[in-house]
């Protein structure tokens, strides 16, 4: 079975802190994605990556950056966390389009 793991299930950070969310997949998938999920808004794509060191902006990239140094790992970075970035963050990976496998999510609270 494909496994997508995220570094933390719950995270509390203060405004202005730099935050790293890490995602690891174990199935050699080319594509990886970061979404945020907010009630009534569904999942919104922040960034995605087709390959190592490649990244593409999604629909809401402002305030975020990403890093993909290894194929299995995709990191989401909040350079200076703000309260409006409090959300559930979901990582996904895919190989065969368009089926995506999701991690369990990280619930981030910024105070």
């Amino acid at each position: 079975d494909v496994k997508v793991t995220q570094s933390s299930r719950y995270l509390v950070k203060r405004t202005g802190e730099k935050v790293f969310l890490e995602c690891v997949q174990d199935m050699d998938h080319e594509n990886m994605f970061w979404y945020r999920q907010d009630p009534g808004l569904g999942l919104r794509l922040i960034y995605f990556s087709y390959d190592v060191k490649m990244k593409e902006k999604g629909d809401i990239p402002e305030g975020y950056s990403v890093s993909r140094e290894k194929k299995e790992r995709f990191s989401l970075i909040l350079e200076s966390a703000s309260t409006n970035q409090t959300s559930m963050y979901l990582c996904a990976s895919s190989f065969v389009r368009p089926k995506q496998y999701f991690g369990p999510g990280t619930r981030l609270t910024v105070t």
Binding site: N31, G42, L43, L90, P98, F102
Partner: protein, 110 residues
């Protein structure tokens, strides 16, 4: 920007009843997926429909893709408490990306 509108956003029914969830767009999608998400977990793929007019069944769940590939529906027959969850539709938006609907939070009461 492609958008998917799901309705209803909330649905609470009694065990044994039937229900339908709708997913509509003004855009054409090359495929459409349905996911279910349990509390504290990520979404899990239930089905992918690709051809206009396609119908797929998964036990008591029936999924349909509209003829014009702009809309889809999920019908559950004789709902069970185990069907409780958040149901998300997602359209393939090209280049491996998905566009998600807002989700339907379904509660089945025993």
């Amino acid at each position: 920007t492609q958008l998917l509108e799901q309705s209803p956003q909330f649905l609470s029914i009694q065990e044994g009843e039937n229900l339908t969830v709708y997913c509509n767009s003004s855009s054409v999608f090359s495929s459409l997926q349905w996911y279910r998400q349990e509390p504290g977990e990520g979404p899990v793929l239930l089905v992918t429909v690709v051809t206009g007019g396609e119908v797929k069944k998964l036990k008591r769940l029936t999924f349909q893709f509209g003829d014009a590939r702009k809309d889809s529906s999920l019908h559950i027959t004789a709902a069970q408490p185990g069907d409780t969850g958040l149901y998300l539709c997602a359209g393939e938006s090209g280049a491996q990306k998905l566009v998600f609907g807002q989700g339907t939070r379904l509660t089945i009461n025993p």
